[in-house]
């Protein structure tokens, strides 16, 4: 273990703490660190409603969803052997989104408790589809990304069409469908937490088997691995993480693409080392984008899903161009 590696996790945690503080302090009503502290601890403080009831759940949800998307992205890149894989970009989040919109518009279902199951089913369907298209290694990385983009576009068009046809039911989902943390509350957090926890445990459990699988099925089997089981667990983890994350705050792209790539620069291609970095740095990106969205459009705000898409686009292009050279 090199010196740089030993310092990496504490450094990343430090950055995450700073971002969390910013997320609590910045918004339509900017607060000093002292005011944030009072807002957290003192119910009599004037900042209490803003900090405790709005920004704190929003920050916690951002932490969880960011970590989920980052870890899911790393799993997906390992599973498909494709450095351009991202659950947002490949349509997994959009699949969850389309299922949620369908459930709302067609069956009149509302409330996270019912919708989360639809989100998981939608994410599951698209995950399997993506895996069948590109997971067997027949498709080039670009082909998989292209197929995913097409699936993504079709799902977004579907969501848009349903929204147009049924404006009443979906008016309040308008922000949700672009990816937003604005409606965060603690019931949402506790509702999705068990799914994320299970997804995280499965992700941790299949990290080392996925490392063996990266050498090819024959080598992995010879090492005592079970490729089919490993793939099934990894897909289940991706579905739980992305489905629950999307149910809570809508489809968010690029977080799962950028962060694992960044993490592997520090760690090398070992998944057990990459995942902790993803779980810390992806929330940094998501909360950072959320804070940025609150700053650039003040006193209104830009949805976090739009900010990550704007930031992620150029990174994706660089990644594609960089691969060619």
């Amino acid at each position: 273990m090199t010196h740089r590696r030993a310092l990496g996790i504490p450094a990343a945690l430090g950055v995450l703490c700073v971002i969390c503080l910013l997320s609590l302090a910045i918004g339509a009503l900017p607060l000093s660190p002292a005011a944030v502290w009072h807002g957290l601890t003192d119910p009599a403080s004037s900042a209490y409603p803003v900090v405790r009831q709005m920004r704190l759940p929003r920050t916690v949800l951002g932490l969880l969803v960011g970590a989920a998307l980052g870890v899911a992205g790393a799993l997906m890149q390992a599973l498909t052997r494709n450095p351009l894989a991202d659950p947002g970009l490949l349509g997994v989040n959009a699949g969850a989104s389309a299922a949620v919109v369908t459930a709302t518009a067609l069956f009149g279902i509302s409330g996270l408790g019912g919708l989360i199951w639809f989100a998981l089913a939608g994410a599951g369907l698209i995950s399997v589809l993506i895996y069948l298209i590109g997971g067997s290694g027949v498709g080039s990385p670009a082909r998989l990304a292209l197929a995913g983009t097409a699936v993504n576009a079709a799902l977004y068009a579907y969501v848009g069409a349903v929204e147009l046809l049924d404006t009443d039911a979906l008016d309040r989902m308008r922000f949700w469908t672009v990816g937003s943390l604005a409606d965060a509350d603690f019931p949402t957090v506790t509702r999705i937490a068990p799914f994320l926890l299970l997804g995280a445990l499965l992700a941790a459990g299949c990290a080392r088997p996925l490392d063996a699988l990266a050498l090819g099925d024959d080598a992995a089997t010879s090492l005592g691995g079970r490729p089919a089981l490993t793939r099934a667990v990894a897909i289940l983890a991706i579905v739980l993480l992305c489905g629950a994350a999307t149910a809570a705050c809508g489809p968010i792209v690029f977080v799962g693409l950028m962060i694992p790539r960044l993490a592997s620069r520090f760690t090398g291609p070992s998944l057990p080392r990459i995942l902790p970095y993803c779980a810390i740095l992806a929330p940094v990106l998501l909360l950072g984008a959320d804070v940025l969205g609150r700053v650039v459009a003040r006193p209104a705000e830009l949805e976090v899903g739009i900010v990550t898409a704007v930031l992620g686009g150029p990174v994706f292009l660089l990644a594609v161009v960089g691969r060619r050279s």
Partner: protein
């Protein structure tokens, strides 16, 4: 089909009535095979004769459609996969090199069957990885990315990975393919050294003369069946080459090693 334990295999790794089929084609039919303990066994035969298929079945990477592979007298299919992985290692023909991996990181993945699902590398793991890097002569390349290595160095790294698995039986599927002659000899010398150190080594090779020079036990196959098995000096005959490859050849003595040397006849 009940394996007959009373007259079970005498060697640690063996196959009985092994039948292997792909979707519509039976590649190996009712094959009996023994890998003599402590041997350097080389499988030879024409392309598509099933030698790689047999090797993969011996490593339990491929599930036979009939018959059994026995490891230490027990059907391998019923053994825990971790136990098998600690006893038999296979270096496949075309393993995948993960993007950006270094030599040491690749070799460390060979430790997989010795680690729990969540356990990190132990000092023992690190010692074994270091030893395997030294044994394969690539200790000074440990920190280098695989992508920067030459073909010969890369193959050494893969052998080191298989070695790090720390198995008594080591199977190598065409370890010399894609290497130039010097690197082929280099890899075979390495295999011979691993064999001398006490391992049972089984390799699929294409070059008959290299097989004759390095093997202690030769198995010649054609159309999924064994034509002959035994020490190269008595096994590799002109008849066998004719039968296996439809190739008229003379056998002379290798002036360097004294082993059989196959000289294809001129026919124009």
């Amino acid at each position: 089909m009940q394996p007959n334990h009373a007259s079970g295999p005498a060697s640690r790794l063996a196959a009985r009535r092994l039948t292997i089929s792909y979707t519509h084609r039976t590649v190996v039919r009712e094959l009996d095979l023994e890998i003599p303990d402590g041997s350097f066994t080389v499988l030879i035969g024409p392309n598509g004769c099933g030698k790689s298929t047999v090797l993969r079945a011996l490593a339990r990477v491929l599930k036979p459609s009939g018959g059994e592979v026995f490891l230490d007298g027990t059907p391998i299919a019923g053994l825990p996969s971790r136990h098998v992985a600690r006893t038999v290692g296979l270096l496949p023909q075309a393993p995948i090199t993960p993007d950006g991996i270094t030599v040491a990181e690749l070799v460390a993945r060979g430790r997989y069957p010795h680690q729990g699902p969540l356990r990190r590398e132990s000092p023992e793991d690190r010692r074994v990885v270091e030893r395997c890097l030294e044994q394969t002569g690539i200790g000074d390349l440990a920190a280098r990315p695989m992508a920067e290595l030459s073909g010969g160095q890369r193959q050494r790294a893969w052998i080191a990975m298989a070695l790090a698995q720390d198995t008594e039986l080591l199977l190598l599927d065409e370890p010399t393919t894609y290497l130039d002659l010097a690197h082929q000899m280099d890899v075979l010398d390495l295999c011979a050294r691993l064999h001398r150190d006490g391992r049972t080594v089984v390799a699929v090779l294409h070059d008959l003369n290299q097989a004759a020079r390095y093997a202690t036990h030769l198995i010649a196959m054609r159309d999924g069946a064994i034509l002959a098995a035994g020490p190269p000096a008595t096994t590799l005959t002109a008849d066998l080459v004719q039968q296996a490859f439809d190739l008229p050849a003379r056998i002379i003595e290798d002036p360097e090693s004294g082993t059989p040397l196959v000289i294809p006849r001129v026919h124009r």
